[in-house]
């Protein structure tokens, strides 16, 4: 089967709200996955349009019986202690050897949590309102041990958000009932609601470390791309484990000049080639585009720097 990969629809970030025109789903901390299912084949693609079919044999097998010809959108996750666990999933994402893939598909099995249907056979459903796609999905897909249709709650965003945080999830997704599926678009019809703002940012330099941080760095200078220019957004100096300090330092590629369009005016900075991507949590982004109280969360090995754009800052409103 030759299938055309689809660029998934993306969400903006926003604050929690309740509204009759919206539904609310749990936000699953996994990897985005669009499944192309025909009578005899299943192909899985990720957010970056790469085929990941062979990495998840259990999901591929399970989809074979769970659905007929259709294209589904959802999130692949590995559960640990009852909630999706990103670090377990990362183990699955890194495998290339068949022997290990096969073993891990049983030792750390994934779940495919499906939230949308984009095609039924060759008929595109993307222009239908979300709520109609949801009811088609209900008919087209049967849950099994590996495949679960996502649950959603109408209107009650605030209650659902509280419940999600109580369960240890990072947040919820709000989706407009009447919205179409807009492939490749970061749309205000989908809003991710998290406790804090998180951003994937490019490291363009670092401040020298002092004391225990001497061999590594004091803080990272980070930014995001705005129409091709890397815009400086602030310094991240906390949230690093000893191991992360070491690992990140080893990745530094020095540069003579600054990669930033608007570099901060400081002398004690070592500039870097803009190749390292980190996920950062912040209280908020100021009107002038600066991070407030940023904390390092993790490295994003899977994300190319050029995808770290300022459109992450789009804020959705109800």
């Amino acid at each position: 089967m030759i299938m055309d990969p689809i660029k998934p629809m993306l969400a903006v970030q926003g604050k929690v709200f309740s509204s009759n025109e919206w539904i609310f789903e749990p936000k699953i901390d996994g990897t985005r996955c669009i499944a192309h299912i025909s009578n005899d084949t299943v192909e899985l693609q990720n957010r970056r349009l790469r085929l990941i079919t062979h990495r998840y044999p259990e999901i591929t097998r399970a989809l074979q019986t769970a659905a007929g010809g259709c294209v589904l959108d959802g999130e692949l996750a590995v559960f640990s202690k009852g909630i999706p666990d990103f670090s377990s999933l990362a183990v699955r994402e890194q495998q290339v050897k068949a022997v290990r893939i096969d073993y891990l598909s049983k030792a750390l099995p994934a779940s495919y949590i499906v939230f949308d249907i984009l095609y039924r056979g060759s008929e595109s459903l993307m222009n239908l309102p979300l709520i109609e796609r949801k009811s088609i999905l209900e008919n087209e897909l049967q849950d099994n041990d590996f495949i679960t249709r996502i649950d959603y709650l109408p209107a009650e965003g605030e209650a659902y958000f509280k419940a999600a945080l109580k369960k240890g999830l990072e947040g919820i997704m709000a989706k407009r009932l009447a919205s179409t599926y807009q492939p490749g678009v970061r749309s205000r019809d989908w809003v991710k609601i998290k406790k804090h703002l998180t951003l994937d940012l490019v490291v363009g330099g670092y401040m020298l470390g002092q004391g225990q941080r001497g061999p590594f760095f004091g803080s990272l200078l980070v930014g995001a791309y705005d129409s091709g220019k890397l815009v400086y957004m602030g310094r991240v100096g906390s949230g690093f484990s000893q191991q992360e300090l070491e690992e990140i330092s080893l990745e530094f590629k020095m540069s003579e000049g600054t990669p930033f369009f608007n570099p901060p005016d400081r002398k004690d900075v070592q500039w870097l080639k803009p190749e390292l991507v980190v996920e950062v949590e912040a209280m908020e982004v100021s009107k002038r585009g600066h991070l407030r109280a940023p904390v390092f969360l993790r490295r994003r090995i899977d994300k190319p720097p050029e995808e770290c754009t300022v459109d992450q800052l789009l804020i959705g409103e109800a």
Binding site: I2, D4, P5, I6, K7, P26, T41, L49, R50, L51, I52, T53, H54, A77, F79, G82, I83, A98, V99, D102, Y103, K106, A107, P109, S111, I113, Y119, S122, S124, M126, D143, D145, T148, I150, D151, L153, E156, A159, Y160, K162, A163, A164, K166, K167, L169, P183, G184, K253, M254, K273, E275, I301
Partner: protein, 279 residues
């Protein structure tokens, strides 16, 4: 309608012979910089072109099943911390000339992110015995210049030779084309390859007779075929991998028994119940 709504696959990705085969996902680049020839600069990233698939084992303590770690000891019997370690250039007879990290750092060639291509040479003049390993170079937002350079090498059969600094080591590199790519083959220095002609055992080899030669040529002719590297398999690896499969069979059966995992479903039921109670 459908086509226009979807992102189309490139031609290369469409060629799928086996269902298992997926598009090649390139490993992480180990170097980035640019190819430089006079005034022309082509930014590239370098990726090792080979993948080591040989079987490797971890050392495991038989009694507890956990991996073995190393501790460093000096000959006085003390455990040594990493920060107390310096570098010794061995003179023999337990005599070492000591170097600090800083001294070694200062002696290393100046790091440069430019592969300085000095001249073009005929690719087949390069002796494969000097080849070390090959890096795949991919364009770094330089597709046009990259494609042109590759085409020129294909049309002329020329390769470019120059110097490259990687991890503070300078290498001679031969930059040439391979299939759709430009690659850089790292080469040994001329004094690193033995000159077998100077070995006594090879100096006075007996001259074969005409008869022997013509007989030998017959045999060579009979056995001559086109080279197909795919017929050679790492049978040790295959044996070990099938042994792994049978060794874990029991465990896999156990894992499959507890396979019914409604975790995702449970989570969503709990969320709904909690949310209802909070309304």
């Amino acid at each position: 309608m459908k086509k226009s709504q979807k992102q189309k696959l490139s031609e290369k990705e469409k060629v799928k012979e086996e269902p298992q085969e997926e598009e090649l996902i390139l490993p992480k680049a180990i170097w980035s910089g640019s190819l430089s020839m006079g005034l022309v600069n082509v930014p590239v990233k370098a990726i090792p072109i080979t993948r080591d698939k040989r079987v490797s084992f971890k050392m495991i303590h038989q009694t507890c099943g956990t991996p073995i770690h190393y501790k460093k000891y000096c000959e006085e019997g003390e455990e040594v911390q990493t920060k107390e370690i310096v570098h010794g250039y061995a003179l023999g007879h337990k005599k070492y000339v000591i170097f600090t990290d800083e001294e070694i750092e200062a002696a290393k060639p100046e790091s440069s992110d430019i592969i300085d291509l000095k001249e073009f040479v005929d690719f087949f003049q390069a002796d494969p015995h000097y080849f070390e390993n090959t890096l795949l170079l991919v364009p770094d937002r330089s597709e046009r210049a990259y494609s042109l350079l590759r085409k020129l090498m294909e049309k002329t059969g020329k390769a470019a030779i120059g110097l490259m600094t990687m991890r503070s080591k300078e290498h001679i590199v031969l930059v040439h084309y391979y299939q759709e790519a430009i690659v850089a083959t790292l080469m040994r220095y001329s004094d690193e390859v033995l000159d077998p002609g100077k070995a006594a055992i090879l100096k006075d080899l007996p001259e074969p007779s005409e008869n022997e030669i013509s007989l030998g040529l017959e045999i060579v002719k009979k056995l001559t075929k086109d080279l197909d590297i795919t017929v050679f398999k790492d049978s040790f690896r295959e044996t070990i991998e099938s042994m792994v499969q049978s060794k874990i069979k029991g465990e896999v059966v156990q894992l499959e028994k507890k396979a019914a995992r409604p975790e995702a479903k449970n989570l969503m039921d709990e969320l709904r119940a909690t949310a209802e109670s909070l309304k």
